[in-house]
Protein backbone atom coordinates (compact mmCIF):
# COMPACT_ATOMS: atom_id res chain seq x y z
CA UNK A 1 0.00 0.00 0.00
CA UNK A 2 1.15 3.50 -0.80
CA UNK A 3 0.00 6.32 1.35
CA UNK A 4 0.83 9.91 0.44
CA UNK A 5 0.17 12.31 3.31
CA UNK A 6 0.21 16.09 3.03
CA UNK A 7 3.11 16.19 0.60
CA UNK A 8 4.56 19.52 -0.45
CA UNK A 9 7.31 19.88 -3.00
CA UNK A 10 8.87 23.08 -4.21
CA UNK A 11 11.77 23.81 -6.54
CA UNK A 12 13.23 27.08 -5.32
CA UNK A 13 10.22 29.38 -5.20
CA UNK A 14 8.06 27.23 -7.47
CA UNK A 15 5.46 25.24 -5.54
CA UNK A 16 4.93 22.05 -7.52
CA UNK A 17 2.94 20.00 -5.05
CA UNK A 18 0.75 21.48 -2.35
CA UNK A 19 -0.74 19.33 0.37
CA UNK A 20 -1.31 16.24 -1.75
CA UNK A 21 -2.74 13.22 0.05
CA UNK A 22 -3.85 9.97 -1.52
CA UNK A 23 -3.82 6.25 -0.86
CA UNK A 24 -3.20 3.47 -3.33
CA UNK A 25 -4.25 0.00 -2.20
CA UNK A 26 -2.32 -3.15 -3.11
CA UNK A 27 -3.17 -4.28 -6.63
CA UNK A 28 -4.96 -1.06 -7.43
CA UNK A 29 -4.42 0.83 -10.69
CA UNK A 30 -4.50 4.59 -10.27
CA UNK A 31 -4.29 6.99 -13.19
CA UNK A 32 -2.94 10.44 -12.39
CA UNK A 33 -4.07 13.02 -14.90
CA UNK A 34 -4.08 16.77 -15.21
CA UNK A 35 -2.76 19.67 -17.28
CA UNK A 36 0.98 19.87 -17.94
CA UNK A 37 2.84 21.46 -15.08
CA UNK A 38 0.28 20.28 -12.57
CA UNK A 39 2.84 18.18 -10.69
CA UNK A 40 1.82 14.69 -11.85
CA UNK A 41 5.30 13.48 -12.66
CA UNK A 42 6.75 15.11 -9.58
CA UNK A 43 4.25 13.27 -7.40
CA UNK A 44 5.22 9.99 -9.04
CA UNK A 45 8.93 10.72 -8.68
CA UNK A 46 8.49 11.45 -4.99
CA UNK A 47 7.23 7.92 -4.41
CA UNK A 48 10.54 6.30 -5.38
CA UNK A 49 12.54 9.26 -4.15
CA UNK A 50 13.84 10.53 -7.47
CA UNK A 51 12.59 13.74 -5.88
CA UNK A 52 12.54 14.32 -2.15
CA UNK A 53 9.35 15.91 -0.84
CA UNK A 54 9.87 19.27 0.83
CA UNK A 55 7.54 18.18 3.58
CA UNK A 56 4.95 15.51 4.29
CA UNK A 57 5.17 11.74 4.36
CA UNK A 58 4.96 8.97 1.80
CA UNK A 59 4.56 5.45 3.15
CA UNK A 60 5.34 2.47 0.97
CA UNK A 61 4.31 -0.68 2.82
CA UNK A 62 4.42 1.27 6.05
CA UNK A 63 7.94 2.67 5.51
CA UNK A 64 8.22 6.44 5.28
CA UNK A 65 10.32 7.05 2.18
CA UNK A 66 10.85 10.67 3.13
CA UNK A 67 12.40 9.80 6.50
CA UNK A 68 16.01 10.95 6.69
CA UNK A 69 17.65 7.56 7.30
CA UNK A 70 15.44 5.37 5.16
CA UNK A 71 17.02 2.59 3.10
CA UNK A 72 16.25 3.98 -0.36
CA UNK A 73 17.57 0.92 -2.20
CA UNK A 74 15.15 -1.33 -0.36
CA UNK A 75 12.19 0.81 -1.35
CA UNK A 76 13.32 1.08 -4.96
CA UNK A 77 13.55 -2.70 -5.17
CA UNK A 78 9.84 -2.81 -4.47
CA UNK A 79 8.86 0.20 -6.58
CA UNK A 80 9.75 0.02 -10.25
CA UNK A 81 9.50 2.89 -12.68
CA UNK A 82 8.86 3.17 -16.40
CA UNK A 83 9.99 6.43 -17.97
CA UNK A 84 8.67 8.57 -20.78
CA UNK A 85 11.99 8.29 -22.63
CA UNK A 86 12.52 4.59 -21.80
CA UNK A 87 16.04 5.19 -20.50
CA UNK A 88 17.38 1.87 -21.68
CA UNK A 89 21.13 1.48 -21.29
CA UNK A 90 22.43 1.99 -24.84
CA UNK A 91 25.68 0.10 -24.34
CA UNK A 92 23.93 -3.10 -23.25
CA UNK A 93 21.86 -5.55 -25.23
CA UNK A 94 18.17 -5.91 -24.44
CA UNK A 95 18.86 -8.97 -22.32
CA UNK A 96 21.77 -7.29 -20.50
CA UNK A 97 19.54 -4.31 -19.81
CA UNK A 98 17.08 -6.62 -18.11
CA UNK A 99 19.39 -8.97 -16.22
CA UNK A 100 21.73 -6.27 -14.92
CA UNK A 101 19.76 -5.12 -11.88
CA UNK A 102 18.40 -8.54 -10.81
CA UNK A 103 21.93 -9.95 -10.83
CA UNK A 104 23.63 -6.89 -9.36
CA UNK A 105 21.03 -5.83 -6.83
CA UNK A 106 19.03 -8.96 -5.99
CA UNK A 107 22.09 -11.23 -6.45
CA UNK A 108 20.12 -13.51 -8.67
CA UNK A 109 22.04 -16.29 -10.39
CA UNK A 110 23.00 -15.07 -13.88
CA UNK A 111 21.64 -18.12 -15.66
CA UNK A 112 18.38 -17.95 -13.74
CA UNK A 113 18.06 -14.23 -14.45
CA UNK A 114 18.52 -14.83 -18.17
CA UNK A 115 15.81 -17.46 -18.27
CA UNK A 116 13.46 -15.27 -16.32
CA UNK A 117 14.11 -12.26 -18.55
CA UNK A 118 13.70 -14.27 -21.73
CA UNK A 119 10.30 -15.37 -20.44
CA UNK A 120 9.43 -11.74 -19.73
CA UNK A 121 10.55 -10.74 -23.22
CA UNK A 122 8.26 -13.43 -24.57
CA UNK A 123 5.46 -11.90 -22.56
CA UNK A 124 5.95 -8.46 -24.12
CA UNK A 125 6.32 -10.05 -27.54
CA UNK A 126 10.03 -9.34 -28.07
CA UNK A 127 11.70 -12.70 -27.53
CA UNK A 128 13.60 -12.32 -30.80
CA UNK A 129 15.21 -9.03 -29.67
CA UNK A 130 17.17 -10.38 -26.69
CA UNK A 131 20.55 -9.88 -28.34
CA UNK A 132 19.74 -6.55 -30.01
CA UNK A 133 20.98 -3.18 -28.88
CA UNK A 134 18.37 -0.54 -27.95
CA UNK A 135 19.42 1.67 -30.88
CA UNK A 136 17.99 -0.91 -33.27
CA UNK A 137 14.52 -0.94 -31.70
CA UNK A 138 11.48 1.19 -32.43
CA UNK A 139 10.08 3.43 -29.69
CA UNK A 140 7.29 1.03 -28.90
CA UNK A 141 9.72 -1.87 -28.67
CA UNK A 142 12.02 0.14 -26.43
CA UNK A 143 9.22 0.92 -24.04
CA UNK A 144 8.11 -2.70 -23.93
CA UNK A 145 11.69 -3.70 -23.09
CA UNK A 146 11.74 -1.02 -20.40
CA UNK A 147 8.56 -2.45 -18.90
CA UNK A 148 10.01 -5.95 -19.02
CA UNK A 149 13.21 -4.65 -17.41
CA UNK A 150 11.17 -3.22 -14.56
CA UNK A 151 9.21 -6.47 -14.20
CA UNK A 152 12.47 -8.42 -13.93
CA UNK A 153 12.92 -6.92 -10.46
CA UNK A 154 9.57 -8.35 -9.31
CA UNK A 155 8.32 -5.01 -8.03
CA UNK A 156 5.17 -4.73 -5.96
CA UNK A 157 4.50 -1.33 -7.45
CA UNK A 158 5.21 0.10 -10.89
CA UNK A 159 5.17 3.83 -11.52
CA UNK A 160 4.52 4.74 -15.15
CA UNK A 161 5.62 8.26 -16.01
CA UNK A 162 3.86 9.13 -19.29
CA UNK A 163 4.88 5.83 -20.87
CA UNK A 164 3.40 6.60 -24.28
CA UNK A 165 4.05 10.34 -24.60
CA UNK A 166 7.30 9.96 -26.54
CA UNK A 167 5.91 7.40 -28.96
CA UNK A 168 4.72 7.72 -32.52
CA UNK A 169 0.94 7.29 -32.60
CA UNK A 170 1.06 3.89 -34.27
CA UNK A 171 3.18 2.50 -31.44
CA UNK A 172 1.04 3.66 -28.55
CA UNK A 173 -1.28 0.71 -28.68
CA UNK A 174 1.33 -2.03 -28.39
CA UNK A 175 2.63 -0.41 -25.20
CA UNK A 176 -0.82 0.18 -23.73
CA UNK A 177 -1.69 -3.46 -24.41
CA UNK A 178 1.30 -4.57 -22.34
CA UNK A 179 0.35 -2.23 -19.51
CA UNK A 180 -3.26 -3.36 -19.63
CA UNK A 181 -2.17 -6.97 -19.34
CA UNK A 182 -0.34 -6.06 -16.15
CA UNK A 183 -3.39 -4.49 -14.56
CA UNK A 184 -5.18 -7.03 -12.47
CA UNK A 185 -2.13 -9.26 -12.00
CA UNK A 186 -1.77 -7.98 -8.46
CA UNK A 187 0.89 -5.38 -9.27
CA UNK A 188 0.03 -1.97 -7.91
CA UNK A 189 0.25 0.65 -10.61
CA UNK A 190 0.35 4.43 -10.62
CA UNK A 191 0.17 5.82 -14.10
CA UNK A 192 0.68 9.37 -15.26
CA UNK A 193 -0.90 9.57 -18.67
CA UNK A 194 -2.54 11.73 -21.29
CA UNK A 195 -4.40 8.78 -22.77
CA UNK A 196 -7.85 9.47 -21.36
CA UNK A 197 -9.51 6.50 -23.01
CA UNK A 198 -6.87 4.21 -21.61
CA UNK A 199 -7.12 5.70 -18.13
CA UNK A 200 -10.85 5.21 -18.20
CA UNK A 201 -10.47 1.61 -19.32
CA UNK A 202 -7.77 0.30 -16.98
CA UNK A 203 -7.74 2.53 -13.94
CA UNK A 204 -9.63 1.72 -10.76
CA UNK A 205 -9.37 5.36 -9.79
CA UNK A 206 -8.58 8.67 -11.41
CA UNK A 207 -6.61 11.30 -9.54
CA UNK A 208 -6.88 14.74 -11.09
CA UNK A 209 -4.11 17.17 -10.25
CA UNK A 210 -4.20 20.87 -10.99
CA UNK A 211 -1.59 23.44 -10.00
CA UNK A 212 -0.03 21.07 -7.51
CA UNK A 213 -3.23 20.17 -5.73
CA UNK A 214 -5.19 16.95 -5.83
CA UNK A 215 -8.54 18.27 -7.02
CA UNK A 216 -10.40 15.03 -7.58
CA UNK A 217 -10.01 11.41 -6.66
CA UNK A 218 -12.83 9.26 -8.03
CA UNK A 219 -13.59 6.06 -9.96
CA UNK A 220 -13.30 6.63 -13.73
CA UNK A 221 -16.99 6.23 -14.50
CA UNK A 222 -17.81 8.99 -12.04
CA UNK A 223 -14.87 11.25 -12.88
CA UNK A 224 -15.45 11.20 -16.62
CA UNK A 225 -19.25 11.54 -16.49
CA UNK A 226 -19.80 13.88 -13.56
CA UNK A 227 -16.62 15.68 -12.52
CA UNK A 228 -17.21 17.72 -9.40
CA UNK A 229 -14.82 20.60 -9.94
CA UNK A 230 -14.83 23.30 -12.60
CA UNK A 231 -11.13 22.71 -13.21
CA UNK A 232 -11.71 19.05 -14.06
CA UNK A 233 -14.66 19.93 -16.29
CA UNK A 234 -12.59 22.49 -18.18
CA UNK A 235 -9.74 20.02 -18.55
CA UNK A 236 -12.00 17.26 -19.84
CA UNK A 237 -13.65 19.62 -22.28
CA UNK A 238 -10.24 20.33 -23.76
CA UNK A 239 -8.92 16.80 -24.00
CA UNK A 240 -11.98 14.71 -24.81
Amino acid sequence: MISVEHVYKSFKSLEVLQDVSLTIQDGEVVAIIGPSGSGKSTLLRCINLLERPTSGHIYVDGVDVAAPKVNIQQIRQKVGMVFQHFNLFPHMTVLQNMTYAPVKVLHMDAKQAQEKCLALLERVGLADKAASYPATLSGGQKQRVAIARTLAMDPKVILFDEPTSALDPEMVKEVLTVIKDLAGTGITMALVTHEMGFAREVADRICFLDEGRLVEDAPPEIFFSTPKSDRAREFLDKVL
Binding site: Q73, G80, L88, K104, A135, R149
Partner: protein, 221 residues
Protein backbone atom coordinates in the same frame (compact mmCIF):
# COMPACT_ATOMS: atom_id res chain seq x y z
CA UNK B 1 77.98 22.13 -44.13
CA UNK B 2 77.39 18.42 -44.37
CA UNK B 3 74.85 16.07 -42.87
CA UNK B 4 75.92 12.61 -41.87
CA UNK B 5 73.07 10.44 -40.65
CA UNK B 6 75.24 7.38 -41.23
CA UNK B 7 77.11 8.04 -38.02
CA UNK B 8 73.77 7.84 -36.15
CA UNK B 9 73.42 4.11 -36.78
CA UNK B 10 75.87 3.19 -34.10
CA UNK B 11 73.79 5.18 -31.58
CA UNK B 12 70.53 3.53 -32.56
CA UNK B 13 70.57 0.85 -29.85
CA UNK B 14 71.11 3.65 -27.38
CA UNK B 15 68.13 5.57 -28.78
CA UNK B 16 65.90 2.54 -28.59
CA UNK B 17 66.84 1.93 -24.97
CA UNK B 18 65.91 5.53 -24.18
CA UNK B 19 62.67 5.07 -26.13
CA UNK B 20 61.69 2.29 -23.74
CA UNK B 21 62.25 4.70 -20.84
CA UNK B 22 60.09 7.37 -22.45
CA UNK B 23 57.35 4.86 -23.14
CA UNK B 24 57.46 3.43 -19.65
CA UNK B 25 57.29 6.87 -18.10
CA UNK B 26 54.40 7.93 -20.33
CA UNK B 27 52.40 4.75 -19.81
CA UNK B 28 52.93 4.67 -16.06
CA UNK B 29 52.02 8.35 -15.71
CA UNK B 30 48.91 8.00 -17.85
CA UNK B 31 47.69 4.93 -16.02
CA UNK B 32 48.29 6.46 -12.61
CA UNK B 33 46.77 9.72 -13.87
CA UNK B 34 43.56 7.97 -14.93
CA UNK B 35 43.36 6.15 -11.61
CA UNK B 36 43.64 9.46 -9.74
CA UNK B 37 41.31 11.24 -12.18
CA UNK B 38 38.34 8.92 -11.61
CA UNK B 39 37.73 9.73 -7.94
CA UNK B 40 38.75 13.32 -8.65
CA UNK B 41 36.03 13.69 -11.27
CA UNK B 42 33.48 12.32 -8.80
CA UNK B 43 34.71 14.82 -6.20
CA UNK B 44 34.13 17.59 -8.74
CA UNK B 45 30.57 16.34 -9.21
CA UNK B 46 29.79 16.11 -5.52
CA UNK B 47 26.55 17.48 -4.16
CA UNK B 48 28.53 19.37 -1.55
CA UNK B 49 30.08 22.67 -2.45
CA UNK B 50 33.03 22.25 -0.06
CA UNK B 51 33.95 18.92 -1.63
CA UNK B 52 33.71 20.38 -5.13
CA UNK B 53 35.96 23.25 -4.02
CA UNK B 54 38.69 20.75 -3.11
CA UNK B 55 38.49 19.34 -6.61
CA UNK B 56 38.75 22.65 -8.37
CA UNK B 57 41.57 23.77 -6.06
CA UNK B 58 43.52 20.67 -7.05
CA UNK B 59 43.07 21.42 -10.72
CA UNK B 60 43.90 25.10 -10.35
CA UNK B 61 47.25 24.20 -8.77
CA UNK B 62 48.33 21.88 -11.55
CA UNK B 63 47.00 24.19 -14.23
CA UNK B 64 48.49 27.30 -12.69
CA UNK B 65 52.07 26.13 -12.12
CA UNK B 66 54.41 25.45 -15.05
CA UNK B 67 55.08 21.76 -15.44
CA UNK B 68 58.85 22.20 -15.23
CA UNK B 69 58.41 23.94 -11.89
CA UNK B 70 56.28 21.02 -10.73
CA UNK B 71 59.02 18.59 -11.76
CA UNK B 72 61.61 20.56 -9.78
CA UNK B 73 59.38 20.81 -6.73
CA UNK B 74 58.85 17.05 -6.70
CA UNK B 75 62.42 16.07 -7.56
CA UNK B 76 64.40 18.64 -5.57
CA UNK B 77 61.84 20.09 -3.16
CA UNK B 78 59.92 17.13 -1.78
CA UNK B 79 62.99 15.19 -0.53
CA UNK B 80 63.86 18.15 1.65
CA UNK B 81 60.30 18.33 2.96
CA UNK B 82 59.53 14.66 3.57
CA UNK B 83 63.05 13.24 3.69
CA UNK B 84 62.36 10.79 0.87
CA UNK B 85 64.39 10.90 -2.30
CA UNK B 86 62.91 9.93 -5.62
CA UNK B 87 64.69 8.63 -8.67
CA UNK B 88 64.15 10.88 -11.63
CA UNK B 89 61.80 8.27 -13.09
CA UNK B 90 59.69 8.23 -9.93
CA UNK B 91 59.65 12.01 -9.71
CA UNK B 92 58.53 12.22 -13.33
CA UNK B 93 55.87 9.61 -12.84
CA UNK B 94 54.45 11.36 -9.78
CA UNK B 95 54.48 14.81 -11.36
CA UNK B 96 53.04 13.80 -14.70
CA UNK B 97 50.41 11.53 -13.15
CA UNK B 98 49.09 14.16 -10.77
CA UNK B 99 49.31 16.77 -13.47
CA UNK B 100 47.43 14.80 -16.10
CA UNK B 101 44.88 13.71 -13.49
CA UNK B 102 43.94 17.37 -13.18
CA UNK B 103 43.17 17.58 -16.90
CA UNK B 104 41.70 14.09 -17.33
CA UNK B 105 39.33 14.62 -14.41
CA UNK B 106 38.03 17.77 -16.10
CA UNK B 107 37.16 15.92 -19.28
CA UNK B 108 35.78 12.98 -17.30
CA UNK B 109 33.55 15.38 -15.39
CA UNK B 110 32.29 16.79 -18.66
CA UNK B 111 31.78 13.31 -20.06
CA UNK B 112 29.79 12.19 -17.03
CA UNK B 113 27.65 15.31 -17.17
CA UNK B 114 26.99 14.69 -20.85
CA UNK B 115 25.40 11.31 -20.10
CA UNK B 116 21.63 11.68 -20.21
CA UNK B 117 20.22 12.20 -16.72
CA UNK B 118 17.63 9.52 -17.54
CA UNK B 119 20.38 6.90 -17.41
CA UNK B 120 21.10 7.81 -13.84
CA UNK B 121 17.42 7.87 -12.95
CA UNK B 122 16.81 4.48 -14.57
CA UNK B 123 19.69 2.99 -12.58
CA UNK B 124 18.41 4.60 -9.39
CA UNK B 125 14.87 3.36 -10.03
CA UNK B 126 16.30 -0.15 -10.40
CA UNK B 127 17.91 0.21 -6.95
CA UNK B 128 21.42 0.02 -8.42
CA UNK B 129 23.90 1.33 -5.83
CA UNK B 130 25.99 4.42 -6.66
CA UNK B 131 29.29 2.61 -7.23
CA UNK B 132 27.86 0.03 -9.62
CA UNK B 133 25.86 2.69 -11.41
CA UNK B 134 28.99 4.75 -12.06
CA UNK B 135 31.10 1.77 -13.06
CA UNK B 136 28.62 -0.12 -15.23
CA UNK B 137 26.17 2.50 -16.50
CA UNK B 138 27.64 6.00 -16.44
CA UNK B 139 31.40 5.57 -17.10
CA UNK B 140 31.01 3.27 -20.10
CA UNK B 141 28.86 5.94 -21.74
CA UNK B 142 30.93 8.89 -20.55
CA UNK B 143 34.10 7.34 -21.95
CA UNK B 144 32.78 7.80 -25.48
CA UNK B 145 32.87 11.55 -25.27
CA UNK B 146 36.04 11.50 -23.17
CA UNK B 147 38.05 9.27 -25.49
CA UNK B 148 39.22 12.00 -27.91
CA UNK B 149 40.48 14.24 -25.12
CA UNK B 150 42.05 11.25 -23.41
CA UNK B 151 44.04 10.56 -26.57
CA UNK B 152 45.06 14.22 -26.69
CA UNK B 153 46.14 14.02 -23.08
CA UNK B 154 48.17 10.91 -23.87
CA UNK B 155 49.95 12.73 -26.69
CA UNK B 156 50.53 15.83 -24.57
CA UNK B 157 51.88 13.68 -21.80
CA UNK B 158 54.30 11.91 -24.10
CA UNK B 159 55.72 15.21 -25.26
CA UNK B 160 55.82 16.64 -21.76
CA UNK B 161 57.93 13.76 -20.52
CA UNK B 162 60.90 15.43 -22.26
CA UNK B 163 60.98 17.78 -19.26
CA UNK B 164 62.27 14.90 -17.17
CA UNK B 165 65.54 15.02 -19.09
CA UNK B 166 66.36 18.13 -17.06
CA UNK B 167 66.74 16.01 -13.93
CA UNK B 168 68.85 13.37 -15.58
CA UNK B 169 66.56 10.60 -16.74
CA UNK B 170 67.84 9.23 -20.03
CA UNK B 171 64.73 9.54 -22.18
CA UNK B 172 64.82 10.06 -25.93
CA UNK B 173 65.65 13.76 -25.65
CA UNK B 174 68.39 13.18 -23.10
CA UNK B 175 69.83 10.41 -25.25
CA UNK B 176 70.06 12.78 -28.19
CA UNK B 177 71.76 15.40 -26.04
CA UNK B 178 74.36 12.86 -25.05
CA UNK B 179 74.96 11.96 -28.66
CA UNK B 180 75.41 15.66 -29.35
CA UNK B 181 78.13 15.96 -26.74
CA UNK B 182 79.71 12.78 -27.98
CA UNK B 183 79.83 13.74 -31.65
CA UNK B 184 79.85 17.54 -31.59
CA UNK B 185 77.01 17.42 -34.10
CA UNK B 186 73.59 18.76 -33.16
CA UNK B 187 71.30 18.48 -36.14
CA UNK B 188 71.33 14.73 -36.72
CA UNK B 189 70.78 13.66 -33.09
CA UNK B 190 68.01 16.17 -32.44
CA UNK B 191 66.27 15.39 -35.71
CA UNK B 192 66.48 11.73 -34.81
CA UNK B 193 64.82 12.46 -31.46
CA UNK B 194 62.18 14.56 -33.21
CA UNK B 195 61.45 11.71 -35.59
CA UNK B 196 61.09 9.27 -32.72
CA UNK B 197 58.53 11.49 -31.00
CA UNK B 198 56.69 12.21 -34.22
CA UNK B 199 56.30 8.56 -35.12
CA UNK B 200 55.14 7.77 -31.59
CA UNK B 201 52.52 10.51 -31.66
CA UNK B 202 51.25 9.35 -35.05
CA UNK B 203 51.02 5.83 -33.70
CA UNK B 204 49.05 6.95 -30.63
CA UNK B 205 46.64 8.98 -32.79
CA UNK B 206 46.07 5.90 -34.92
CA UNK B 207 45.45 3.73 -31.87
CA UNK B 208 43.11 6.40 -30.49
CA UNK B 209 41.02 6.35 -33.67
CA UNK B 210 40.69 2.58 -33.45
CA UNK B 211 39.78 2.81 -29.79
CA UNK B 212 37.14 5.45 -30.50
CA UNK B 213 35.61 3.26 -33.12
CA UNK B 214 35.60 0.37 -30.70
CA UNK B 215 33.85 2.20 -27.84
CA UNK B 216 31.20 3.53 -30.22
CA UNK B 217 30.36 0.04 -31.42
CA UNK B 218 27.00 -0.24 -29.66
CA UNK B 219 25.73 2.87 -31.45
CA UNK B 220 25.94 1.08 -34.76
CA UNK B 221 23.15 -1.01 -36.06
Amino acid sequence: MQLDFGMMTKYMPYFFRSLVVTLQLTAASLLLGIIIAIPLSLIKLSRFRAVRAVGSFYTSIFRGVPLLVQVFVVYFGLPQLIGLTFTSFQAGCITFAFNSAAYISESLRGGIMAVDVGQREAAMALAVPYGSMMKDIIFPQAIKSVMPSLVNEFIGLLKNTTLISTVGLVDVLRASQMVVSDTYRAFEPYITAAAFYYVLVMFISFLGKQLERWVNKSDQR
